[in-house]
């Protein structure tokens, strides 16, 4: 059976039982605002993905285009945007790893790996990946 999210009729949940929410419900409590900021982090993930595509395009075009990209990346508004982006991607990483032990149950043999160890594993992998990229991308 297929369920539609947008139909005017949904089984078991008559419309008149629903409380109408304000569009700005997420401004009502700090916890709701944090939720919205966490969801909003995806916009900065998208921005930096585009940034990486521009970087790849510049590398493909050659050394001059690469230099121009580096110069552009140093302009005040790009730097300002990337400062905010760094804050949001770190926030995204921390909140995503926090949810990981609940989202995945890791088993070793018949025993469940404790959630704390799953969380710690994510942080170790994060640190290792960061160090590897840092070393690979060192300037001459």
């Amino acid at each position: 059976m297929e369920q539609t999210h947008t139909g005017s009729y949904t089984p078991y949940h008559p419309r008149w039982l629903r409380r109408r929410l304000s569009t700005y419900w997420w401004l009502e409590k700090p916890a709701y605002l944090w939720f919205m900021l966490r969801e909003g982090s995806c916009m900065f993930v998208a921005w930096f993905t585009l940034y990486l595509l521009w970087l790849l395009d510049a590398v493909l075009e050659g050394p001059l285009a690469y230099e121009l990209f580096l110069a552009w990346s140093g302009t005040p508004w790009v730097v300002a945007l990337n400062v905010v982006t760094l804050g949001f991607v770190v926030f995204h990483a921390v909140t995503f790893f926090q949810a990981a032990p609940q989202a995945m149950v890791v088993r070793l043999g018949r025993r469940r790996v404790p959630p704390g160890a799953v969380l710690a594993g994510h942080y170790v992998a994060w640190a290792a990946a960061s160090v590897v990229l840092w070393v690979l991308l060192r300037g001459a």
Partner: protein, 117 residues
């Protein structure tokens, strides 16, 4: 006939993109977004970056990062507009635009990395 719902697949892409971007993006933002532009560190030469992304393993990692991050964004963006901002009447348009943008971005990434290989 049972119609398969795409939601589980889209959620898997969202989740995988969330993990990959969380692992790799902060250091990349720090390096290419701040450390190199502000002169804290010397940026790698163009040839060095080119040689690096020509490596098949690096290309696969980079391609996964870009594609999964785009689908991570598309899924979260769509659901935030739907549940968060309650924009329900445009849900089909928003879905087409967000997943469509992710597909276009993925194609661009594939083209660039192919040319660089």
């Amino acid at each position: 006939m049972i119609r398969r719902h795409p939601e589980p697949l889209l959620w898997m892409l969202f989740s995988a993109g969330g993990v990959v971007s969380a692992m790799l993006m902060p250091v990349l933002v720090l390096l290419f977004g701040l450390a190199y532009p502000l002169g804290w560190l010397t940026p790698p030469a163009s040839d060095r970056v080119r040689a690096l992304v020509a490596n098949p393993l690096a290309a696969i990692v980079l391609f996964s990062l870009i594609v999964l991050s785009l689908f991570h964004w598309a899924h979260r963006f769509r659901h935030t507009l739907y549940d968060g901002l309650q924009i329900k009447h445009l849900s089909e348009v928003i879905a087409v635009v967000s997943y469509g943008a992710a597909i276009v971005g993925s194609a661009v990434a594939a083209y660039l990395l192919w040319q660089l290989s």
